[in-house]
Amino acid sequence: MTVMNITLPFGVIKDISDYSRFINEILKFDITLNILKFSTGTSGINLLIDIPDDKIKSITESLKKNNIIVNKKGRIIIDTEKCIDCGACISLCPTDALNFDSEKRLKFYYERCIGCLLCLDSCPRYAIEEM
């Protein structure tokens, strides 16, 4: 399973029927869908969904067709020159994409990043950049 981060823009989802239309859009791929997190952001409703790996491509395409924003994976980069390995960003990351290696230096696990950008304004060195 893979975690996907999607945003339902406020304009797209107006009521519950819009919402169920979008869920059905995913369910038509005949999968079990786990909604891991549901939150209201500044531009819309953010959902963290867990989907089977082999369906990523088709689901992404179908969501995009419905004007739903699929946030890229690995949306940040760490500027290691600026990073001072303080760790202030680590507790913000919901997927452990930011963590220490065995030497206690910050390590960014690209494949775990779901692009939620929660970490972005937590870095006192501006070492985290949005891609």
């Binding site: 001072i84 390995d85 202030a88 680590i90 990351c93 452990d96 030497e103 206690k104 937590s122 006192p124």
Partner: protein, 490 residues
């Protein structure tokens, strides 16, 4: 068994000295016992690298021609303090740039200076007969000025608290970004590597102790401000020559919506003069306690949720009210270790000698709160009765209440007095214009609230931040107990 400073320094000279870091000492004492460790080990090195807001530097630029006596001056647009002789100044790390604000501050100026960058100096003066120049705009580097002395009135906190946030919004603090509803936890301090935790009775740490400071050497010149050793919140006043420091260990930082600061690298060598010191320097993270403190309550005495060891904090998650909370540090363990290792190497290579303090530091002071002559006011002192309508009432009822009570905000509750939303006179006007009749269409459900024991300034800041003019006052069960509006605050 006892050793003297002199004996240890002789060993440093002859290259026989045995130095270990405070982390290594734990294992040595565990394996060989205190007695053997005290004989074998001569020096234990410590280190810490974290944000230390009470940091800054005294600079002297030399005289211009014609001479100037600064009244105001800026370094890369960051205002420096001037209240000394003509061309002396103090650049404090939390002062933010007039132009770049949160992005760049005094801490960054110090980092840039130490890394050899050119700094822009602008200054002005009211002019005197002996200092006739009114304005100056020039540039300088660290090598080109007379003195640059790092002088930090409060560094190296023995330990610090672990911060969490119970409130319903993200907080941006000097303890970093704290997510609502205990969403994460941040702590600071180097734990078993923390200098003051390794000599908590100040046997060897005193005025004149030579230390690692910002990648060079420096000295302890006294107890730090707010020094509070009785509850393990000891601090140090330190100084050192910026010209021999290294910008790897002095890093300017910007905490979002809080401000700027400086990460300072500091390490202290502890001579193992006796068995007592061998024991103390073997302290481990599991023996070092601190408090989990709720930063969601904006008061001086924030609620302490529980005690926690540094060992627990080093795990990725801590346990809080039966919930797993992700926890990370604000200070770097990697650099704390690197500092202890570097100091160890300097001593082993005969580059760094130890000295006996000229005077010991107080061990009995406490940190007193500020005296305030004006009583602080709370929401409960100024709130008024909320005008309430039930969540199934008609818009007409709300409109009547607005008129009868001359009140802009009507609080909506259920029959049990639980807050359900708020409706303003503007909402009603809009409803009429748009021919809406159902309260559900116009109610604001996500209401920003306050509580009886919030200080008035906290309520005022919340209104300002959210561009609103009233806050319902609720109790811990979400029952409405009043309302406070911007009118009460004037």
């Amino acid at each position: 068994m006892t050793k003297t400073y002199n004996e240890i320094n002789q060993k440093i000279k002859s290259g026989e000295v045995v130095v270990v870091t405070a982390e290594e000492m734990i294992k040595i004492v565990e394996e060989d016992g205190i007695k053997v460790a005290a004989e074998d080990i001569d020096v234990v090195t410590t280190g810490t690298f974290g944000p230390m807001c009470s940091s800054g530097a005294f600079l002297n630029f030399g005289h211009s021609d014609p001479p100037i006596k600064f009244e105001h001056l800026w370094l890369n647009d960051v205002k420096a303090y001037h209240g000394n002789a003509a061309v002396d100044c103090y650049i404090g790390c939390t002062r933010m740039s007039d132009v770049r604000r949160f992005e760049y501050g005094g801490g960054h100026v110090i980092e840039d200076l130490v890394s050899g960058k050119s700094i822009r100096l602008r200054g002005n003066s009211y002019t005197t007969d002996c200092y006739p120049l009114a304005e100056i705009d020039t540039e300088f580097t660290l090598d080109e000025i007379n003195q640059a002395i790092l002088l930090n009135p409060r560094n190296a906190y023995q330990r610090y608290v672990c911060a969490v946030n119970s409130s319903d919004r993200s907080l941006y603090t000097y303890m970093g970004k704290l997510l609502p509803h205990y969403g994460n936890a941040h702590y600071a301090g180097a734990g078993c590597l923390s200098p003051l935790s390794n000599d908590p009775d100040y046997e060897t740490i005193g005025i004149g102790t030579k230390i690692f400071l910002g990648g060079g050497s420096g000295y302890i010149i006294g107890e730090g401000t707010q020094h509070s050793p009785t509850n393990q919140f000891g601090t140090l006043f330190v100084k050192g020559d910026l010209k021999q420091m290294n910008s790897e260990y002095l890093r300017g930082v910007s905490f979002e919506k809080y401000g700027t600061s400086l990460f300072v690298g500091l390490g202290i060598p502890i001579p193992i003069l006796n068995e007592g010191l061998a024991k103390k320097t073997a302290i481990s993270d599991s023996e070092l306690l601190t408090d989990i403190v709720d930063y969601g309550i904006p008061r001086r005495d924030r609620p302490k949720l529980r005690q926690i060891t540094y060992e627990e904090l080093r795990n990725e998650y801590i346990e809080l009210n039966g919930k797993k909370v992700k926890c990370s540090s604000m200070s770097s363990q990697y650099y704390a270790r690197k500092i202890a290792e570097t100091l160890k190497k300097w001593i082993q290579e005969g580059k760094f000698f130890l000295n006996q303090p000229a005077e010991t530091l107080p061990t009995d002071t406490i940190f007193k709160p500020m005296k305030q002559i004006l009583e602080i006011k709370f929401v409960k002192d100024l709130k008024r009765k909320a005008i309430i309508c039930y969540d199934d009432c008609e818009l007409k009822t709300i409109a009547k209440r607005i008129i009868n009570h001359n009140m802009n905000h009507i609080v909506i509750t259920d029959r049990e007095n639980t807050l359900k939303g708020i409706v303003t006179s503007f909402d009603i006007t809009k409803a009429i214009a748009e021919e809406k009749t159902d309260i559900k269409e116009i109610i604001t459900k996500k209401v920003i609230t306050t509580s009886d024991n919030d200080p008035i300034d906290v309520a005022a800041r919340r209104m300002k931040q959210n561009y609103i003019s009233a806050l319902p006052v609720i109790d811990e069960n979400k029952k409405v107990v009043g309302i406070i509006t911007s009118e009460e605050l004037i």
